[in-house]
């Protein structure tokens, strides 16, 4: 318990150093672009692949459960849309990103810590936390909602493909279902969740990397911790945000 409080304190102190005005905005925006490519653009392929398969699987499962003739066939599309937008495209994708970009960030910053590159920046008078971490947090937090949208589209596409391929319902029934009782608020809810989750992932992984110690083993340990802790926090915050927003 005491240790947890200590960690929270350290995290808070680090974030105070992160969220300061950059020395030069030009340097910040350059790093923002670099991180946007590394954290978001480079995640598009894996997110797309997973989304297309999950979209297809959800459609098959729903179609199998809707044997009853009293339920309209278009419910397949409706259900697929709802599960994608409510849970899959935000929480599931965030958990996958926690593994991918969380370990990436923690090991990158951690190895800079143990090879004294962070010390070298500090000696020069550069706020290393601000230079290294702020672009990661801001780019992931601001751009990840679009990644969620992309995952949503591709997931629906996956559903459409399986519908065309198997013919379990007609494509027009599926498309009708997708449009049925559509609540734009859910998209907004899901984008908010994704942004919060990506803030958690980037800041927590940066924190564990920044405080890495004990050689390359230590870097490995800190990246494992980063993934475990950010996944846990994602689940907790999923609950909190859902309670607040829905």
């Amino acid at each position: 318990m005491k240790k947890t409080l200590e960690l929270v304190g350290q995290y808070y102190l680090l974030m105070k150093r992160v969220f300061q005005k950059p020395e030069k905005w030009k340097i910040f925006w350059k790093q923002y672009a670099v991180e946007a490519e590394k954290l978001i653009l480079d995640s598009i392929p894996i997110v797309s692949i997973i989304s297309i398969f999950i979209g297809a699987v959800i459609v098959i499962q729903t179609a199998n459960n809707l044997e009853s003739p009293f339920i309209p066939k278009m419910y397949v599309g409706y259900m697929a849309r709802e599960s994608l937008v409510l849970e899959f495209c935000s929480t599931m994708i965030a958990l996958i990103l926690a593994g991918k970009i969380g370990s990436n960030i923690a090991s990158e910053i951690g190895s800079m810590r143990i090879t004294e590159q962070i010390d070298a920046m500090e000696i020069m008078g550069v706020n290393s936390a601000n230079y290294l971490i702020l672009p990661k947090i801001t780019s992931a937090t601001t751009l990840s909602p679009f990644l969620m949208l992309e995952s949503f589209m591709v997931g629906l596409l996956g559903g459409a493909l399986i519908v065309i391929f198997t013919g379990m319902v007609t494509l027009s029934q599926y498309v009708d279902g997708i449009q049925f009782a559509f609540k734009p608020f859910y998209i907004y809810y899901s984008m908010t969740k994704t942004a919060v989750f990506c803030f958690i992932i980037t800041s927590i992984s940066s924190f564990y990397g920044y405080h890495a110690s004990g050689g390359s083993l230590g870097v490995g340990r800190s990246s494992t911790k980063a993934i475990v802790v950010s996944s846990g926090l994602i689940l907790i915050f999923n609950l909190i945000i859902t309670k607040i927003m829905l």
Partner: protein
């Protein structure tokens, strides 16, 4: 000039530095020597503010470093260069970008001006045309030289080197040592070098401080070091088997010079 007064540092209750007081002059290479784990790196990191000492004062000329606020510290840091034990080059950047890094942050120079300065620094350390190389493509000695080039990028008044020749062969070591000495004298820098290498001591040790278990036991120049009567220092200086044998040979020779013929 850097002045240290009664410096103490501990980690989790374990005293690592005890009552260190010493003065470092501009234009001189001052060495901190001692066995591994004696506290050399900790002392250096206290001096540059990477570690917070428990007690004591650190003066950079007439500035009391411990009491400076963040902005003043940052200001001072632009006058400080440091060469790290493992070079600590940024591996996300090329050699050129490494040396340019402090310029990007703290100068308003144009791209050409920065490039001029980079080339000047690289030339100074005899590494022309390495601009576009990555740190991982360089040998240990070359990395150290890039580290030095980066440390002098903004014309520092103070230069700190942590074991500049650890992991280098003797020839390269001497080259690096001489480079540090030349730069120090050329620009009148206050230079502090950590080392456990006796060759460096004899080569560039204008002023030497010997640390033993966190205490400063001896101070002097490399001319006096072989004649000191500090037991711990002698143990350190004559630690290698070769030094031991030479010493006993010399003793024998002193006793009976004829027999040796």
């Amino acid at each position: 000039m850097i002045t240290v007064k009664h410096l103490y540092k501990e980690f989790d209750g374990k005293e690592v530095l005890k009552d260190i007081s010493i003065r470092y002059n501009p234009g001189e290479c001052s060495l901190i020597i001692g066995a591994s784990g004696s506290g050399k790196t900790v002392l250096l990191k206290c001096l540059v503010g990477l570690f917070e000492p428990e007690k004591g004062e650190i003066w950079y000329d007439d500035l009391l470093f411990n009491k400076l606020d963040l902005n003043a510290k940052k200001q001072l840091r632009t006058q400080v260069g440091m060469l790290f034990q493992g070079s600590a080059l940024f591996d996300f950047a090329t050699v050129e970008e490494n040396i340019m890094f402090p310029m990007d942050f703290f100068t308003d120079w144009s791209k050409e001006q920065k490039l001029d300065r980079v080339n000047f620094c690289l030339k100074r350390v005899n590494l022309e045309n390495a601009n576009k190389k990555r740190p991982s493509e360089l040998s240990g000695g070359m990395q150290k030289r890039v580290g030095i080039a980066r440390a002098i990028a903004l014309n520092p008044k103070y230069l700190f080197c942590d074991e500049p020749n650890s992991g280098l062969d003797p020839t390269t070591s001497i080259l690096i040592d001489r480079l540090i000495q030349e730069i120090t004298q050329e620009y009148g820098i206050t230079t502090i070098v950590n080392t456990h290498d006796m060759n460096s001591v004899m080569e560039i040790g204008d002023k030497v401080g010997f640390i033993y278990h966190g205490e400063l036991l001896w101070e002097g120049s490399n001319k006096d070091i072989l004649h000191s009567d500090c037991k711990e220092l002698n143990g350190f200086v004559f630690a290698s088997p070769m030094a031991q044998q030479l010493k006993s040979l010399l003793r024998q020779e002193k006793k009976n010079p004829e027999d040796q013929k």
